[in-house]
Each structure stands twice: as structure tokens, then as C-alpha cells.
Symmetry: C2
Subunit: 399 residues, 2 copies
């Protein structure tokens, strides 16, 4: 039997995935499990997207252009313009989710052995894409005490070495919900210029900013137009994760021409998803007003209730639909498994994401969990009650 590859062996497995069998077992045993572990919102997909499928009128479901349907890319430009970002259809390659955009960017820009700096905690799958490209992630810690703000410039400079090729940020952030300020982006801009690095930015939560805050895009950082690559997706924006439509955006012509060769090798992004995503552009602004208000209420519910619990530290983030909270526990992996395996509050429990999966520094995040507020306020309240009771009963509690 032939051996599998080294990178296959090294591919990380998410701690959340390891919990799935325990969640299934809990459900089989008749317990209600509140899923706060995932980025799959319960918000309805806009009617325009569903209608586009109901009205599908093509004799053959054909390949699209490898960079995506041109009319869709043109509408994406209008969308970006509305958000203050000026791009042309040639600056955009439509991808199978932001995931494929990250894959294309890593393959286009980084050699095996190159290093990419990412403030941690970070979205667990970045590690997977880096591993699959033989690239090394150099984490720099952002701290819960500052609400997971961008680490100071000195931390970046300590991490930068001869193999450093890129910095990657997620803004608003998954898993912390942190929204970078204009000043923090300016810090990034200066580092990128000084060391001539690529700056990758995942901005899929752009719309989800609360308390009157404004999202600043890396696409508007002056003087680094050739360094910036943006990853985007309709998954969260329109609560349509399953259409698998994202895009890679850059004004660097060499990067885009090269990424196109990877895009051509896989022929085409999904056509049905593109048709739905193009129709999504008709979604009225009121949809976002309502959705953002709904998420804001959910965040307030979670942050308020979490912070009332003894020994819990929960920042109040300004974006996305996640919080990363510190709990009075010994080990987040064990706690999350215990919640599913051994805990029961009125025949209910919660599934959380251990933060260990969002750190690449060994031992980091051991007493932190990510909570996705993708359930309605009523269910969130019940979930918070579960956590409150659980923290009193958990054998590995530290207070």
C-alpha cells in the first residue's frame, strides 16, 4: 500500500471536527444541542437568490468564464464602488468561496518555505491552506485584554525574517469579531511598504459592523496597490454559504494573470451559485439594516450574559458574528467535549468551538472558546444559561 504525502500527514484537523461525533451522540440521546460552534447563520438567504433559481432559464448549465461571469464581475465592481472601493472586472477572479481565493493567492504569491505572519487567534483553515502549500505560519499574539487589537508594530518586526513574504489579516475578524481601525491599517501599510510584503485580507464580514463603526478596506491603503490581495465571499453577506461563491481581488496585474492560470486549471467557478449571487445584488439595503440590527442584538445578549458569569472575560467586538471569550476552565478542548458528553441542563447543551484551533502557538487559547451568535436571541439566552450552569459543574473549573 503506497504511502500518503507528508503534507497529507501534516494537514491540521480542526478541534471542532473532533467534537462532531460527540454532538451526534448527544442528539441521538435526545438532548437539544445549541450550535454556537459554526459560521453557518440561521438568517434567511435573500429572496432574490432563491428566485433566481426558481426562474433559472438555461437549456444547458454551462461552464462560466474561468474568472467568473462577466456581468457578475461588473456588478461586483458596482458593489465595491458603493463600499468606496474602485476596481475593474479584470481585478476580480470569482472563486469557489473565499477558500479557493486564499488557495489561489497562496499558490500565486508564496513558495514552499516562505513565511506568512498572521495575528492569532485566526481562522483555523488558514493553517490548512498554508500547510497544503508548504508555507509556514508565523503567529503574533493579539490579546484578549485589548479586545484582540492588532499587535504593536514591534511584534511584527520581531516576527519578520528573511523568509517572510506576506501578512494576513481578517477584518472584521473571525474568531474574535475585532474590527481594525484606520490607524491599525496604517500600521500594516507601513510594515508592508518597509519590508515589501504581500498583504492578504479576508473581508468577508465587511457588512457586519456595529455601534456606528465603519469598515476600512485594505484596498484603499495608498501606495501598496500591488501588495494587496483581498478575499471575499457572499457566504456570510447573504447567508448563503452553500452557493460557494467568493472572489479574489487585486490590482497587481502579475498576480491576477498568474492566479488566472490556477483558475483556468479548475475551469470555472460554480455557475448556479454565480447566477444566484448576481441576483443577490438586487437585495434591498433594508435587508442589511435588519440583519445587522438582529446580529447586534444577539451580540449584546451574548456579551452581557457572558460577562455576568463569574471568572468570564468577554470583549465586546464591533464586527462579524463571533466573540472569543476567556472562561474559568482548565482546557477548552476538554470543556467543549464535556459539554456534549456529560453535561445536561433541562435536557439541553451547547456546542462551542475551542479556541485552541485558532492558535498555532502551542498551548495558546487553552481557556478560550469562540461563540458564533448565529442563533436567535431566545436560543442564545438558553445557550448562555447552559454555559452558566456548566461553568459551575465542570470538574475542570478553575474557580
Amino acid at each position: 500500500m503506497p504511502k500518503i504525502s507528508d503534507k497529507g500527514r501534516m494537514m491540521p484537523e480542526s478541534p471542532i471536527r473532533k467534537l462532531v461525533p460527540y454532538a451526534e451522540k448527544a442528539k441521538k440521546a435526545g438532548r437539544k444541542v445549541y450550535h454556537l460552534n459554526i459560521g453557518q447563520p440561521d438568517i434567511a438567504t435573500p429572496k432574490s437568490m432563491i428566485d433566481a433559481m426558481h426562474n433559472l432559464n438555461v437549456p444547458v448549465i454551462e461552464y462560466s468564464h474561468s474568472a467568473g461571469i462577466i456581468s457578475y464581475r461588473e456588478k461586483l465592481c458596482q458593489y465595491y464602488k458603493k463600499h468606496g472601493i474602485e476596481v475593474t472586472p479584470d481585478d476580480i477572479i470569482v472563486t469557489a468561496g473565499a477558500s479557493e481565493a486564499i488557495l489561489f493567492a497562496v499558490q500565486t504569491c508564496l513558495n514552499p518555505g516562505d513565511e506568512i505572519i498572521i495575528p492569532e487567534p485566526f481562522y483555523a483553515n488558514y493553517n490548512g491552506f498554508a500547510t497544503s502549500a508548504g508555507v509556514k505560519v508565523k503567529p503574533i499574539i493579539s490579546k484578549i485584554e485589548t479586545g484582540f487589537a492588532l499587535p504593536p508594530i514591534s511584534e511584527f518586526e520581531k516576527a519578520i525574517g528573511p523568509n517572510t513574504k506576506a501578512i494576513m489579516v481578517c477584518n472584521p475578524n473571525n474568531p474574535t469579531g475585532y474590527l481594525y481601525s484606520a490607524e491599525e491599517l496604517e500600521v500594516l501599510r507601513q510594515i508592508v511598504i518597509k519590508y515589501d510584503l504581500f498583504l492578504f485580507a479576508d473581508e468577508v464580514y465587511r457588512e457586519f459592523c456595529y455601534d456606528g463603526t465603519v469598515h476600512h478596506s485594505v484596498m484603499n491603503l495608498e501606495g501598496i496597490e500591488n501588495n494587496v490581495v483581498l478575499f471575499d465571499s457572499v457566504s456570510k453577506r447573504y447567508s448563503a454559504c452553500g452557493v460557494r461563491i467568493g472572489c479574489m481581488v487585486s490590482r497587481n496585474k502579475e498576480v491576477m494573470a498568474t492566479a488566472m492560470k490556477f483558475a483556468q486549471a479548475r475551469l470555472s467557478p460554480p455557475s448556479l451559485g454565480q447566477i444566484a449571487s448576481e441576483a443577490a445584488m438586487e437585495t434591498p439595503d433594508s435587508y442589511f439594516v435588519e440583519v445587522i440590527e438582529e446580529y447586534r442584538k444577539r451580540r449584546d445578549t451574548v456579551v452581557e450574559m457572558m460577562n455576568k458569569m463569574e471568572g468570564v472575560m468577554c470583549p465586546n467586538p464591533k464586527g462579524a458574528f463571533y466573540v472569543t471569550a476567556r472562561l474559568p476552565i482548565d482546557n477548552a478542548d476538554k470543556f467543549c467535549q464535556w459539554l456534549l458528553e456529560d453535561f445536561n441542563h433541562d435536557n439541553q447543551t451547547v456546542m462551542l468551538a475551542p479556541a485552541t484551533g485558532f492558535y498555532s502557538t502551542p498551548g495558546a487559547g487553552m481557556n478560550e472558546v469562540r461563540i458564533s451568535y448565529v442563533l436567535n436571541v431566545e436560543n442564545l439566552k438558553k445557550s448562555m444559561e447552559c454555559i452558566e450552569v456548566a461553568l459551575k459543574e465542570y470538574p475542570g473549573r478553575t474557580i
Copy 2:
């Protein structure tokens, strides 16, 4: 401006892609261009797939399981059983087209520097996936004189070295249409056992076999269950290339567990495409009877008319919807460009795929082209007339 990656620079660009601007120019100048260059059939997508979209009844278009919707994988097992292949849902990962299945298999099984033997001419994108994984393709030539049959075992043994890790075949073949016999697959089986190699097989054209021939799957080769990885897709089967639904199939549990880590990193295959593909299982057998008869007629039209032209050698392949023909020309790239740039027959011309893109041996395929018979018989006849006239007028003709 930071430098792009080495593999980005090395990614091959298809000679067909280079012709696209010339085709666009010809169309702008008012000429009718018959597209025999692509694998995008004109056959209607089954009604069941379109209906599934018209009847889409979900509030949220959600992620599916990373390995694909379980009910779809169960139905795929029934489909394979009908084709004499026994597999379970755990042996299947649903992918974004066969393209992603190839990517997962290459990343799961091969290290950078490993070699993969592929009989050439071969599907051009195999080269792209190999390059993106740092894997080296070792071609062994299959000859037009034998209709592109599998090269003799001695040719494989000459190519096998210490870094050889896999053999890859496409059956029925793109770009030659060649259908491997049971005896040829037995040769592969023996080599795979002797050298303990992975055997990758792209069987996306399984249904398209003509003249009473039967398709034999690598999945039924005894004793190499742990070596075989199958790539499949609904793109050609149901003329639905745009849904981007394929799958990777293997009974090797370590391979599948590892491939799942790559699948989880990209979250989910397209949900809309999976819903359509699951519905496609309801397609009546009569659909295939009609489609196969249509392709058979088209093949006969092309093969007969091509072989009547002076100096042309066109095998009569038993499968897929391609022929690779030898023409009395100096250079296929130049000829295909000339057809678009300078040739005009009753204000019509054809776009062909230069075979140079299907060989990795330098200089091979210089007088061969691939013809996709994805147009109806009437248009194919007009296309063949164009080629006949063109071969008399082309300045680089060799007779």
C-alpha cells in the same frame, strides 16, 4: 512590488487559451466560428436538474457536509452499483468538479518531487495540477498509429524510477477518445502491484462508449483496492459542466481520511450543484440512449469526413466525444491561429485545439489537433468542410 511564486511562474498556459483573443476577433469581424475546441457539450441538461432548481425549497442555502450531502453520496453508490462498482458513502468525497478531486488526490498522495506517469497525449490540466503540487509528470507516448492504445508495459518500466509514485489514466480518454480494454487495465494492475504505485483514473466519460463496447473501471481491478483513486464528475454525464460537481472515490481509508482534511479546509462542495446532481439520478436511461446515439452519429461524421481529406489520419475512437487527428501541417498552434486570423470559408471558420497542449514531451503533437464533437451533425459537416478547404489553402501545409 513583491515577487510571485516559482510555481506561479511555471504554471502552464493552455495553447487553447492563447487562441481565445483570435476567436473573439474573428467573431467581431462577423465570421461564424464553429467551436470544436472545447469540452462543453450542446446537449440539453436533463430536465430533472433544472426542475430541482425550479423547486428549490430551502430558507437558507447552507454549507453541506464537507464530503457532500449524505443522501447524494448514497445515491451515487446506487449509481456506481448499476455500473458494477461496489462502494459505500465513506468511499466518496463530493468535490467541485473532477478538478478538485484531482487536486485532493495529488495533495494527499504525492510529495513535491514525486513523479507521476501519464500516457500522453493527456488532458492539459493534469499538468496544471501537477505543477501546483510540485509534482513532475513523466509522459509515455501513446501513438496515433495504434489509435492511442496504452503503451506497452516496457514503456512504463522504462519511465519508472525511484521517485515514481503514481500512474494516471483517463478512460475513455480526453483528448483521444480511446477506450481501454480489460487487457490493458490488467497490464496497469500488474505494474501497480509490482511497483506499489497509486493508480489515478479519470472516468468522467464512462457513459460515452460506442459500437457495443463496454467500459471497464479501475475500481474493479482486484488486489489494488488501496492503490486506486477514481475521479468522477457529472459535468459530461449530464451535460452540466457549470454545476461543478464531481467526486473522489477510493477504498483506501487512509487516503480518504487525509483527503477529508483538505475537503474540510474548503468547507463544502457547492450545495446547489449537489441538489441538482442528486435530482439528476432520476434521469431515465432513455436520456443516455439518445445522447450516446447522438454522439455516435457525430463521431461517425467527423471520422468519416476527416479520413477522406488528403494526408489526414483520424482514428475511430470508441469513447468520450473527442478525436485527435493528424493533419498535413507544419505546426498545429500556427494552423489553429491561422484558421481564426486569416481563414474564411463562406464567412465561416473553426476553432480547434492544437494537440501540443496535450503533450509534455517537447515538440510532440505538432501536426495533431483535438476535435470535440460537441456540435450537431449539420454544424459538424460545415466545420469539416472548413477544415478541408483550409488544409488546401494553409501556407504551412506539408502536401
